[in-house]
Symmetry: D3
């Protein structure tokens, strides 16, 4: 993504878009499932953004030990929780993996409303968007040992208390789609 | 995987989902671009649905004569117009073509929040969702000769008056992304 | 597309199919290679089914340490052994992986003659077909320590006695396609 | 593909396979649906072959005007009719299009039991298998004006008499899967 | 894609690359086959570039009426002719279609040595690279009625004089790969 | 890849190609990055070949810990170093993985100028090309402990002296594309 000259037209385009609809920023997660740590990040990013696009990564994966929920189920989780919290300046975009990093930024760009800021602490994500010329911002911090998808899935699997780690509506959705049993079935557990 | 079916578990799941989050219905269009006819449909479907999922079909296509806009640009059009109209009970989901109809319903199911009703007048769409056990509803009618993506794209290309055929915000978005010139460039026109 | 479901038309369809051609059941394996344990399962399933469809999973894989044989070679193994055992109520269907579990049942449905019963002990397979509304049956048991593809491939690789673990015709096929040398070559062994 | 030297090992392999299991020949069709013309070809090819592999081409397509039936439905048609005619020296293999002709022969080879003869009158098919070193045989002739998939689908669509053009069991299968209505639905007809 | 800020690092990178290895420019064609019109363009572009990358478009296609030759055969044509003409400041890169224009520039970027100038008269190509910030140059003109792949293929097919329309080495390559007969076979001609 | 008869036409074709353009041989590597060990091999293979095609394997991968550089960057490395060494009888061909070994040889054949000799010490590569009828030659040996992509990447990552392990121009290219920082960023290192 090495280009020599600054494309004035494209630049004017993003300026115009911003003037009309405000600035868009982007964050991407897998949300397997959406947990309280994610929500801390989303709340802060949404608060400091005019518009926040939340990308659901690895959208094609589901029914796997590390990816039990479909993109649609994860979409519902995010949407219900944000509505409940009266956050409204967001878009949700499922994004399938493309398995060649050189095309990944272009894919995100084609699926998301035009954006100019990217929140991420992931070095690869930062590198790829940075090589493509985006402004990077550090993603807000949260307690990663307490809140992580891995921990939530493990607790669901082992019958421990997981409901406190996720927003109430997420627990309701997981229950309503028979998600506990799914997590156990796909693990080959009992 | 949500069908009102013999499968008791799945069935109970969708019942539970519905009880908790209300009934979801689905409509799919290409929105190249979103025009006033689309908006008549969306307004009516949203009014009679608890939640309406709007699928953006052929999400992978852009920069083609019949598909000039990216999925992200179309997402922005729908989102901005619905916000402006104070409609809020909707989700927007870009859906890539899968080029094998036998898998298409499963793909839509995996990307969309669980739904139980499908709005469509397209015979193939109706057939596919009907074979999969969904409740089909006729899509509301509108003046298809006046409002159609084909007509809008043709008028953009030929420099005729197209702005009256689309919501005001769509025209603003098309202008802000230099869309008129894009439509002309990809047609090889001047 | 075949499920005993609320969908009356589809339901009548599967009823009609069953009435005309008998009930079809399905089992899926990788058969790398077909061994005596597989044959115990196939014999029992074929005996209690009107028609048995045998899916060859991961059909696209070959020339790998864990998947040395092509789908066509595995097809020949199954077909020759079943003919030799005078079993005739079966279909063989190579099935490529689709790498997104949410579409996998739809893919199996599109490639296989319509079926209504699935034999499997694999929790994920059971989960996926169960979410899609199929009747699941336990797959017959056999001595999994003695008979397993992993063991057969390991014995071929290490020059131990593997011929007793597979039907005689499978050994003949492996010999005729130079299979022993292939297993060793792709392992980087001598 | 052009290669210089005759691989002695591969050659000995096919010799050995042939000695043990007899010679295999291949024919490929789309069978949308299987009609009486196809059956003339299959009967003759099966009669003059030790083993005949019948490839179902464009296996991934269904629910299209020119490809209404799934690979599994087409598999059932062929299998039921051949059983009814007491033909038994055949294999049926669904083959997905790969959309790059340079790989197509390799794909057919990987999915089919090893074969050495190809029946085809199609110039491209003949060219591709001939460049790969296969023996080509002319496919038996039949009345192509009377029997063709295009004609059968058109008659189904227009409510004309199509049942005489296909084997009795094919008509029964089409009826049992509600195929007449499917052909009409996907054509947008009534 | 529209981005707001000029990435200084990427910019310094291309500056550094240029300083060390000179400026690279890019042209893309299908070369089915390479003809004298292509050569006029290549000669001029190579003369005015420090380094010229020649992309072979639709690299995955071959054995089709409009795309008879493989990417490898087209690579050989270009390489042999340029060597014969003592042009040496070029790279040849086969580029497969990606069927989503929004990713196409990123794919070309990932396969080609870093470049900063694009030669093209094709409005879509110009649009896509221009949206990505590249410097576009008009491709040199030649007599498009006399020299075109379509004309050359038609003359080959119909047995007319085509050898004068292509460089001598291209004719030799086409002869050596039995190309005339291939063009006819895949057209269903005699 | 089991075929019975030696295709005389194809054989004559390769003979004719050879007579006109000389014999082509093939070697394939990932070149992540090109190091001095690779160069020993290339020098020897190029010296004993009329024409050497250098395939860049896993061309689609980049920005991964084990595959940091794009195919285009690797192409530039090879091309610049060979020009500097005044080697000129080579072609460079990026080759994407196809993830099914049964098609891999056909893919290499379709992308590369026609070749008849393959250099490789990799047992799987040797097996696949040997099953397809190619002449295999041992790849020249070099000090694999000192020169390996793994070692070079590790030294780049850990800030040790890596420049002596690669040709001077490779170090310059890595510097000019900010490659050291990329290797560290994608490793999540500092």
């Amino acid at each position: 993504m090495t280009k020599e000259s600054f494309n004035l037209d494209a630049d004017k385009g993003i300026m115009a878009t911003k003037r009309v609809f405000g600035e868009h920023s982007l964050m991407i997660g897998r949300f397997q499932p959406l947990h309280n740590g994610h929500m801390e990040v989303i709340r802060k990013c949404a608060a400091e953004s005019e518009n926040l696009t939340i990308g659901i990564g690895s959208a094609q994966l589901s029914h796997e030990v590390d990816n039990p929920f479909t993109a649609g189920e994860r979409y519902l989780m995010i949407n219900e929780v944000l509505k409940a919290e009266r956050i409204s300046n967001y878009c949700i975009v499922p994004i399938e993996d493309i398995n060649r990093y050189s095309l990944w930024v272009a894919q995100v760009e084609s699926l998301s409303p035009p954006f100019s800021i990217v929140y991420s602490n992931n070095p690869l994500t930062r590198r790829l968007f940075s090589e493509a010329g985006y402004e990077l911002r550090d993603s807000p911090l949260y307690n990663r040992e307490m809140y992580s998808g891995t921990v939530v899935r493990k607790k669901i699997l082992e019958g421990e208390e997981w409901r406190k780690l996720v927003p109430k509506k997420v627990a309701e959705i997981i229950d309503s789609i028979d998600g506990v049993r799914r997590v156990r079935d796909i693990s080959g557990g009992d």
